[in-house]
């Protein structure tokens, strides 16, 4: 344990220390001044963001190879730090408005971000497990933050029980993997397979269970069922954050594990991931069709987006196609994150007390009353649906390109057809805003508006000026 070990883990370490300190500092911040806590939390995230960027292309392995700082991690850490910041912006006004403002929201969120970042960096399955839990436990708490709202509590309990259930599969999978390869180091697993010293059948079962655990995190069908309930029940700003953070972290882990630990298990695992992708896209999109609650609709839509990304993940075992696939998923995650925060910011803005204003029908007339907000929401919906010139389109373009490059034409066809279905429910929001008369209201402070504006502009801007971010994603691909 040297200083360089900590250096590789600097953003996470800093964030955890900062969060712990903030927990104490918060005690001294008066109840009506919780803005300071939020501000300090953002500051911490900014520092983490800076540290992450400072690591650049990575600093190599640390802690005896249990964590690794590479370009892949940097990309995701930067994204997660930003997501944390956007998540706080999303929450600040909402918590006040709903009368549930407490400083712990921000500190817990920081811990969760730290867990997500760690997940991006984990080079050991045990660290991965720790990261998953560090990510999840604060989220369980935060889901119930709207206490005593029953929906929030129900969501929290469901999330907690199912999360723990899935985590148990993950742990068991890790145990089996350990049994098969004598190691939990991701790199060492692949080496063991290559050297022929691994117990392959056992490893396959272990890998299968790990897939279940991570599939739960990214909400892949059939491990997705917690998603709509939790997304609906949890406070809206949290859902927005969770929908991005948990998914990003989940895919980070999924990619790292599949590409680095199991590249030679393609014949066993590819059909499984393939089937997950095949199921996830239609189920998410079809179920979203009939939703009336916008949070639930977005929940199903997040399932669908996980499905699109899984299409590219399927290419993990193809050494030639994998780098492009990883880059495509990274890019898509960024696109999804931006769009998602924007959409949730609008949801937060339109939501009224007591969970009112969450039906899609409540958006009727928004186009007349708040044209800019409606325009922004339109941009987000178009980006979700994959219309140019938004970043969502470019993301899908790369995803399906990766799938085709690896030869998964069937999946790509299912994917694009599923995305046609998605157009229907996304456009329904637009239709309601512009083509139905109603009395939609919008609240929210300047920060929320800034977030909406920023994400909307970025959604379009990055959809037109694609190269820089994609270049970054390409450089961030996983290397052994």
């Amino acid at each position: 344990m040297t200083f360089s070990d900590f250096a590789t883990l600097l953003p996470e370490t800093a964030l955890v220390i900062w969060a712990s300190a903030l927990l104490l500092v918060d005690l001294f911040i008066p109840k009506n001044r919780k803005g300071w806590t939020a501000f300090l939390a953002v500051l911490g995230l900014a520092a983490a963001f800076g540290f992450a960027l400072a690591q650049g292309r990575g600093m190599g392995a640390g802690f005896g190879g249990m964590v690794v700082s590479d370009g892949f991690a940097t990309f995701l850490e930067a994204m997660l730090a930003l997501s944390g910041g956007l998540g706080i912006l999303l929450a600040y006004d909402y918590l006040k408005r709903q009368g549930i403002e407490r400083g712990e929201y921000y500190t817990l969120l920081l811990f969760s971000v730290a867990g997500m970042m760690l997940m991006a960096k984990a080079a050991d399955l045990m660290v991965l497990f720790l990261a998953v839990e560090l990510l999840s436990i604060p989220l369980y708490v935060l889901s119930a933050f709207g206490r005593p709202r029953e929906a929030g509590e129900e969501a929290a309990l469901k999330y907690f029980l199912l999360g723990a259930f899935a985590a148990a599969f993950l742990v068991y999978g890790i145990a089996l993997t350990y049994g098969a390869t004598q190691t939990t180091r991701i790199a060492a697993i692949a080496e063991a397979v290559q050297a022929g010293s691994a117990n392959l059948p056992l490893l396959a079962f272990g890998a299968g269970l790990i897939l279940v655990g991570l599939g739960f995190k990214v909400a892949a069908v059939p491990f997705h069922m917690w998603t709509p309930d939790v997304y609906e029940g949890a406070p809206s700003p949290l859902t927005g954050f969770m929908a991005v953070g948990a998914k990003v972290a989940g895919f980070a882990a999924l990619l790292r594990v599949l590409v680095l630990a199991f590249p030679n298990l393609g014949s066993q695992l590819v059909p499984i991931v393939w089937t997950l992708a095949l199921l996830t896209m239609p189920v998410g999109n079809l179920a979203a069709l009939t939703q009336k609650n916008i949070k639930r609709m977005l929940a199903y839509s997040s399932i669908a987006h996980a499905g699109y990304m899984l299409v590219a993940v399927v290419a993990f075992a193809d050494a030639k196609a994998a780098p492009a696939a990883v880059a495509a998923v990274l890019f898509y995650l960024a696109a999804y994150a931006l769009t998602n925060f924007g959409a949730w910011a609008v949801v937060v803005a339109v939501e009224r007390a007591e969970g009112k204003g969450l039906e899609i029908a409540d958006y009727a007339g928004l186009g007349r009353k708040h044209p800019w907000l409606a325009l922004a929401m339109t941009v987000f919906m178009l980006s979700f649906a994959g219309f140019p010139p938004t970043v969502g389109f470019v993301g899908k373009f790369y995803l399906f390109r990766a799938a085709l490059a690896a030869g998964y034409v069937g999946l790509a066809i299912v994917g694009v057809l599923a995305s046609v279905v998605s157009v229907y429910y996304y456009m329904r929001v637009v239709t309601t805003m512009y083509m139905r008369e109603g009395q939609a209201e919008a609240y929210g402070d300047a920060w929320l508006k800034v977030e909406v504006a920023l994400t909307a502009l970025a959604t379009v801007f990055l959809g037109i000026i694609v190269a820089p971010m994609f270049q970054w994603a390409v450089q961030a691909v996983l290397k052994m």
Partner: protein
């Protein structure tokens, strides 16, 4: 800066300047907004004339090309590339002409949310021009998909009672095809290492025939829905009936041409062998469309629906011409695209005029309008005759060339022409019955007070009628513009046909 020095970029994106200005105008000042929109689109029109003046008709290749690398990833580059050649120039001009006309025509018809309406139209123009000018498959797809959105709003916000249904149907139906085309574009790009059309054309798509065929079919599906070809047309009547007049004009005038243009630019150019292979089935569908469209049009009771179905029939002619795969057929097809844009655009305006005055489109609610609205009647008759292909007017030139092309086609032949030519009889039937129901017969009492066209409407019709006569009497300039490019394309197709047999 050199981005804007290129006439094509300038023309395509100039409407956005109008959008920016309109955003600054308070929404109460509707006339100011309208003027800005009309003037902006007219500027685009003048830029297109500038482009025309710089166009060398004898050169069959892309001209005024603007080519920059948009993004460079992994294996290859994606370009932002614009250029114009004989296949696209007329459609570009049609677009820049019809946009101001349709905005102008909606002067009094649209009173609600004028700001959004004009913005939607100007943004629409950007999308449409981009589609016709894009030289990179990716660039093309971006514009193609993007152009759906403003039309969705135009139908959905300012449309008739079933507007949301029609708008979403329009969008979803079109997307089913275009997403598969996206995959085909990707596949093509991956296998050829580039999306840049001139490169693809120069090298020729080097794929075995069965792969070519799949790609061809994926492109064809997207375009066939847009055209729309039978039996993929059922979004069209709904979209047309519900859309506001100006929207219908653009929809029929330009948007449908995006489909036929796609066939021309991509299917025929990139997959000549597959084109030869599928020419007969496509021509059969085209002919079914001609006859079926005419028959269904005849049975309509709604004026606008009737006109909508005529589009199915007319575009069948265009498709037949394109898949005759010889210069004659293709030239006729392109000209017929323009003709349809002018004539059917004008027909929708005709429907719009009477709808604005009577708020009904029921064919049985009219009668004898020629008596009370003589100027309206005169323009309508000219337009209707153009639509049914009367010699001396534009429609005939296109149809004649197409039918002759199909007759002499190496892949089709006289039988196709015989069946397609029955469309000319059937067109007379539905057009005449339409004229009879609307303009002839005794006048209904409630229609006695109808006002004839005002100066604004007369201007619009006069411009369209001018072109109807011009193309009908002296189409040479139009043919000259497209000639060399078509020859080049047909040459490739001819070679493919020889290679196939």
């Amino acid at each position: 800066m050199d981005f804007l020095m290129n006439p094509l970029n300038l023309m395509t994106f100039f409407p956005l300047v109008g959008v920016a200005i309109i955003l600054l105008i308070p929404r109460e000042r509707k006339d100011a907004i309208r003027w800005v929109a009309v003037v902006t689109s007219l500027v685009s029109f003048f830029i297109s004339l500038w482009m025309l003046s710089m166009f060398h008709a004898q050169n069959p290749n892309f001209q005024m090309v603007y080519d920059k690398i948009w993004m460079k990833t992994g294996g290859f580059e994606i370009h932002y590339a614009m250029g114009v050649d004989g296949l696209s120039i007329l459609l570009v001009l049609l677009t820049t002409l019809l946009t101001p006309i349709s905005i102008f025509s909606a002067w009094t018809a649209i009173e609600d949310r004028v700001k959004e309406f004009t913005i939607a139209f100007l943004v629409m123009e950007v999308g449409m021009l981009g589609v016709f000018l894009a030289l990179d498959l990716f660039t093309f797809f971006v514009f193609w998909e993007f152009s759906l959105v403003p039309m969705y709003f135009i139908i959905g916000i300012w449309g008739g009672p079933r507007r949301t249904y029609s708008a979403i149907k329009f969008m979803l139906y079109t997307m089913v095809g275009s997403v598969l085309m996206l995959l085909a574009i990707l596949w093509l790009g991956l296998s050829q290492g580039t999306f840049y059309l001139p490169d693809l054309l120069a090298k020729g798509v080097n794929l075995p025939l069965h792969l070519q065929s799949w790609l061809f079919l994926a492109f064809a599906l997207a375009f066939a829905i847009k055209v729309p070809m039978w039996p993929l047309h059922s979004w069209l009547p709904d979209a047309h009936v519900e859309a506001p007049t100006a929207g219908s004009v653009i929809l029929a005038g330009v948007l449908l041409k995006m489909g036929t243009y796609g066939f021309l630019r991509f299917n025929l150019s990139l997959f000549p062998q597959a084109s030869v292979k599928y020419a007969v089935p496509i021509a059969v569908l085209a002919i079914i469309g001609i006859i079926y469209g005419a028959m269904v049009a005849y049975a309509q009771k709604d004026f606008k629906k009737l006109v909508a179905y005529t589009s199915v029939s007319h575009l069948g002619f265009v498709m037949l011409g394109l898949f005759a795969l010889n210069p004659l057929g293709i030239e006729g097809g392109i000209l017929q695209m323009i003709n349809h844009g002018l004539s059917t655009g004008a027909l929708f305006l005709i429907v719009g005029v009477i709808y604005e005055r009577t708020h009904t489109r029921d064919l049985n609610a009219f009668g004898g309008l020629w008596k009370i609205m003589p100027i309206y009647g005169a323009f309508s008759i000219v337009v209707a005759l153009s639509s049914m292909g009367l010699p001396g007017l534009n429609g005939f030139i296109g149809e004649f060339t197409i039918l002759l092309g199909a007759f002499k086609s190496p892949v089709l032949g006289p039988v196709f022409t015989i069946f397609a030519a029955t469309g000319i009889i059937l067109a007379a039937v539905y057009i005449l019955v339409m004229l009879q129901k609307v303009f002839m017969g005794p006048v209904k009492e409630k229609n006695l007070g109808l006002k004839d066209l005002n100066w604004r409407e007369i201007t619009v019709f006069a411009v369209l009628t001018l072109f109807i006569f011009w193309i009908g009497l002296h189409p040479a300039p139009f043919f000259n513009l497209m000639g060399p490019s078509v020859e080049k394309l047909a040459h490739g197709l001819q070679a493919a046909a020889v290679a196939m047999h």
